[in-house]
Amino acid sequence: MSADVELSDVSVTFGSFYAAKNVNVKVNGGEFFSFLGPSGCGKTTLLRAISGFQEPSEGKVLIDNKDMSGIGPNKRPTALIFQNLALFPLMSVSENIAFSLEVRGVSKEERKKRADELLELIALEGQGDKKVHQLSGGQKQRVAIARALAVEPKVLLLDEPLSALDLKLRQRMRTELREIQKRVNITFIYITHDQGEALTMSDRIAVMNEGELEQIGKCDEVYNNPLTPFVATFVGENNPLYGKVTGIEGDKAKIETADGQYLATMNESKKLNIGDESIAFVRPESLFIPRDGDNFDNKIDVNIESFEFEGNLKNFYASLKSGAKIKFSVPNAIDTSSITSGSSIVLGFESSKSVILPKASLAID
């Protein structure tokens, strides 16, 4: 059983500070939905508003079209997984998992049965009598999920639960979370500042900045067609090229920068006019070193400053004539041994792989 969650004009204020401002979003039943944003952007506040720990100052939270105002966290069909998991250290694993049943007066045998079922779901069969501190990080994670699922909530809320894990485990838990969500088929609302997590797990994501929603959409949509410079630079990496619009050709706009003219694609909802201050964005992986026969819409002269080896990619840091910095990545499979610090080369990129947006502040500012 899953439920829709709708935030309708939700604002949360602390004094004169808006932790969340006019947030409108509808999460569909059974969806894996992520709120993505830097720390302090208000995403945790929204989660607390959905779970009932924080009443919105304005607006409404609706779960299954039912207004949740005045309904406490212990009465909502939601379960929250805390950032530090908040497992009960003085209880055994089974007691933790069955706690929500215990408080509802479910009999001991029934509780044991359900705990065993859930232990099986999280692949921890037979470990119910252990104490929480005897478990590894990933196991604790799974126990927290099982505990939240014990009463069959309609919505599971997750507050950056993977942030304390090391990289490998985090990557494995992403897959596991996604699998568990498919199996139990309930709505997952996930909070994270890690765009990798959000992109790999979610059906849709909402990008937040300073309490406001910047963009809601499918992962590839948000990545490929960011609506604001903030989204362009927060979700994945992006090189900004600042300039003025000098020409419009269909859905493309020509931008004049200090280093030359480039052609980039406009977003349907963010049409530009000639003379507008704007930014064209091109991602590090969309910048290519042209080979014979390649013909790119845009060419850009750069001077290599330094590079780093990331494993699958080699990242180059270069400067343009005007002093602007640019980063590009080349798959490790391509031989780049001739390019070293100080080399001057020409890069190419396709206008279809570059978006142009009205000027606004970036995530990295």
């Binding site: 779970s51 009932g52 720990f53 406490g72 966290p73 212990n74 009465k75 939601t78 379960a79 929250l80 805390f82 950032q83 530090n84 908040a86 497992l87 009960f88 003085l90 209880m91 706690f99 929500s100 215990e102 408080v103 509802r104 505990r147 939240a148 014990a150 009463v151």
Partner: protein
């Protein structure tokens, strides 16, 4: 030998001077202020009560008479048991237990409020207002309560003055003043261990319980109280021990008809000039209180290490 001592981690960590100071201070405290007086009392409690000049003489010998006096009374008494002293003792232990429980019930909500609900500035204000009255000496605080509770005292005058009562309540006669005074006397020793224990609980634990559907009561019962157990036991132990041994408050506040056990001890020492019997009574109080506390710890499954944390 010297070298061996100075290469110990304790010396390396603290430096020679500080380490020697610690050692000397602790040994002095333990030997001179704890062991020697207690052993002296223990020894005295098994000796006949003779004037100092007769010490070591034929009349000074070891005997159980003071302990048997506590249980069976004087040799000339007609009762089978010393009902008076046993009664005072039993009442002291029993009332101290109630005082401890009352203290716990009273302090727990306040400690929880200060630790987890109040914002930092309110919490500070509350802690300060808890502490300030204790800048005043215990005896003076007891007298202040006496003024409040006296038959013609502030409370009775107020109640009769506004016409709520025709006649004042006999707070002192019925020992209500004493119980209030005892509860109040050591309240901080319950408050602070409780506060510290609750304060260290991760607020997410409480929220997680709530989110999982737990009522407030159950959250306290299953999450907060188990976490705070060492603090609860530590507070209860201190309050119980000090209440059982309280002297100033009972002297000022108890009704003329009743005695608190330490008052009895005081009488043997100072009024009847029988230090041996006073010592015996002190040892009895000490041992019974310790056994009582250890039993409670056993029942509530707390280890001594947890308490001193």
């Amino acid at each position: 030998m010297n070298n061996f001592l100075f290469t110990q981690p304790f010396f390396k960590k603290n430096g020679k001077a500080v380490a020697i100071y610690f050692l000397v201070a602790i040994i002095f405290w333990f030997v001179f202020l704890v062991i020697i007086p207690q052993f002296y009392m223990l020894d005295l409690s098994f000796r006949t009560n003779v004037p100092p000049l007769a010490r070591g003489g034929p009349e000074d010998y070891y005997t159980f008479e003071h302990y048997s006096h506590f249980i069976f009374g004087s040799k000339t008494a007609t009762d089978a048991f010393n009902f008076v002293d046993l009664g005072v003792f039993g009442r002291t232990i029993f009332v101290s237990m109630l005082v401890t429980i009352a203290n716990l019930l009273f302090c727990y909500p306040i400690a929880f409020y200060i630790a987890k609900i109040a914002n930092p500035s309110t919490a500070r204000l509350l802690i300060v207002s808890l502490i300030i009255p204790f800048w005043i000496n215990e005896l003076l605080r007891s007298f202040a309560l006496r003024i409040l509770f006296a038959n013609e005292g502030v409370i009775n005058n107020f109640l009769t003055g506004v016409g709520l009562l025709d006649q004042g309540i006999l707070f002192i006669t019925y020992d209500i003043g004493l119980y209030t005074g005892l509860i109040y006397a050591y309240i901080l020793l319950m408050m602070f261990p409780l506060y510290n224990a609750i304060e260290s609980l991760d607020i997410n634990q409480i929220e997680a319980a709530k989110d999982l559907g737990s009522s407030s009561f159950r959250t306290h019962w299953r999450i907060v109280i188990p976490h705070a157990k060492p603090g609860i036991v530590s507070g209860c132990t201190m309050v119980f021990m000090l209440t059982v041994g309280a002297l100033a408050t009972p002297v000022v506040l108890s009704s003329p008809n009743t005695l608190w056990f330490p008052q009895l001890i005081y009488q043997w020492f100072n009024m009847n000039d029988n230090w041996s019997r006073g010592s015996a009574y002190s040892i009895i109080l000490l041992i019974v209180s310790v056994i009582f506390v250890l039993t409670m710890m056993r029942i509530f499954k707390v280890r001594i290490g947890e308490i001193i944390k």
